[in-house]
């Protein structure tokens, strides 16, 4: 499986993260999104006419929507990440996959504005982002009352992976996460999952490793 990838893209990161959590090896090909705008080149549009990243290719299959890639990876890997299969949970997963698009259109765009100088009404983007964060916070708070930490239950699904990147990267777009305690704990729960990988803007939870033992001085290595 080959992922056409950009290291700073939240949507590409969703796919890299899902694959890492599943232990699935992806081969990645870096696309010069910034500054080269290679995703808009004629060559790249032959692969994906929309000119967007990521693109996942597996044999004859070409996927251009990150949520579809999450479904594909999870379905192949035994469906654990798709929920328990009940009508309620299947619908809830779809609900949050759709919600993740709102996060991309608000917090994600605010981030591209503040970081890579994309045009946009930054105040409106941030307002829409805060509204989405408040919805998410309310939902996760109610889930915690029931002892659930993830979006649809006590175990994570592709819905969590679809929503996590643009939420965790909100500060890149000038939207603080300080006011959302349930989002903080949800985010920590995701970052503590075995196999979790970071992207720039999301730091390692260093506390997951014990404080290091002493090593020989640097001089000894020279």
């Amino acid at each position: 499986m080959k992922l056409y990838d950009y290291v700073l893209s939240a949507s590409c990161y969703k796919v890299r993260l899902m694959a890492a959590l599943l232990g699935e090896k992806l081969s990645t090909e870096a696309v010069d999104f910034h500054p080269g705008r290679a995703h808009r080149s004629r060559e790249f549009r032959a692969l994906n006419p929309a000119g967007t990243l990521p693109v996942l290719v597996d044999g004859g299959l070409i996927l251009t929507e990150s949520t579809a890639m999450l479904v594909y990876l999870a379905q192949r890997a035994g469906k654990v990440w798709l929920g328990d299969g009940s009508p309620v949970q299947a619908a809830q997963v779809q609900q949050w996959l759709a919600f993740s698009a709102r996060l991309g259109g608000s917090l994600g765009m605010a981030r591209l504005h503040d970081m890579l100088l994309y045009a946009g009404d930054i105040d409106a983007l941030r307002r829409a982002g805060v509204a989405a964060l408040r919805e998410l916070e309310s939902h996760l708070t109610e889930a915690r009352f029931d002892g659930r930490i993830f979006l649809t239950g006590t175990t994570p699904t592709i819905a969590d992976i679809a929503c996590f990147p643009n939420v965790a990267l909100a500060p890149d777009g000038g939207v603080s996460l300080d006011d959302y305690p349930s989002i903080r704990l949800w985010s920590r729960a995701i970052r503590a999952l075995p196999g979790f990988i970071e992207m720039p803007g999301i730091h390692r939870l260093h506390e997951l490793k014990p404080a290091p033992e002493a090593v020989p001085p640097l001089e000894a290595l020279l």
Binding site: F145, D179, P181, H203, L205, A214
Partner: protein, 202 residues
């Protein structure tokens, strides 16, 4: 004075979060053994926010260079110089921090300053709202304010809101009479936030 800075349930062991005491930005954290501390949100080395740091055991470390501080605020380790004992002058700015009835409080506060009695109440959640006390008053008719503590009834359920000045807005730390009502009170609080922000605009 004591300023409410969140709910105990939102700060489990091993977690650090941002706080605020009368405009001063704080890092509030709980050690692995459960010890609570509130410090100025600034590593003395390069000014990085300690609320972005990480908790290992009984210490908080800065995310930038890993400078590590013990519960008294004194720097105990500088990873760039592993064998050096850090000078005593390197110290985080320590605030008073206590918790009572599920609410985290930060001082300086005089010894005579009592915390409000919230015994018997169940923590619901903390929210922030862009608005001032005047807008909150208009949005909460029937609530009675005693200092930072606002009490009222919501659909027959007793609700306490501990109000915190936080940047350009307010933090509302909500508790209610029984765990069974938490969802209802949480949803009511979403409505309060919208109402206060509408009132703040008028």
């Amino acid at each position: 004075m004591w300023v409410a800075n969140g709910l105990s349930q939102d700060l489990p062991s091993g977690v650090v979060m941002a706080g605020n005491w009368q405009g001063a930005e704080l890092a509030i954290w709980r050690s692995v053994s459960g010890r609570l501390a509130a410090w100025g949100d600034r590593c003395p080395h390069r000014g990085m926010r300690l609320s972005h740091g990480f908790v290992r055991g009984e210490t908080l470390s800065c995310i930038y260079h890993g400078w590590t501080y013990g519960s008294d605020g004194a720097c105990s380790k500088i990873p760039a110089h592993p064998t050096m004992v850090p000078p005593a002058a390197i110290k985080a700015e320590v605030y008073q921090c206590v918790e009572a009835d599920g609410v985290i409080w930060v001082g300086p506060a005089g010894p005579e300053a009592d915390l409000p009695d919230l015994s018997g109440m169940v923590a619901v959640r903390s929210v922030s709202v862009l608005g001032d006390v005047a807008a909150l008053t208009r949005a909460l008719p029937g609530f009675v304010a005693d200092g930072a503590l606002w009490r009222g009834q919501v659909g027959g359920v007793s609700v306490s809101l501990v109000v915190q000045a936080r940047g350009a807005g307010l933090g509302l730390h909500a508790l209610c009479g029984a765990a069974a009502h938490r969802v209802a009170v949480s949803r009511w609080l979403d409505g309060v936030v919208q109402l206060v922000e509408q009132e703040a605009l008028t």
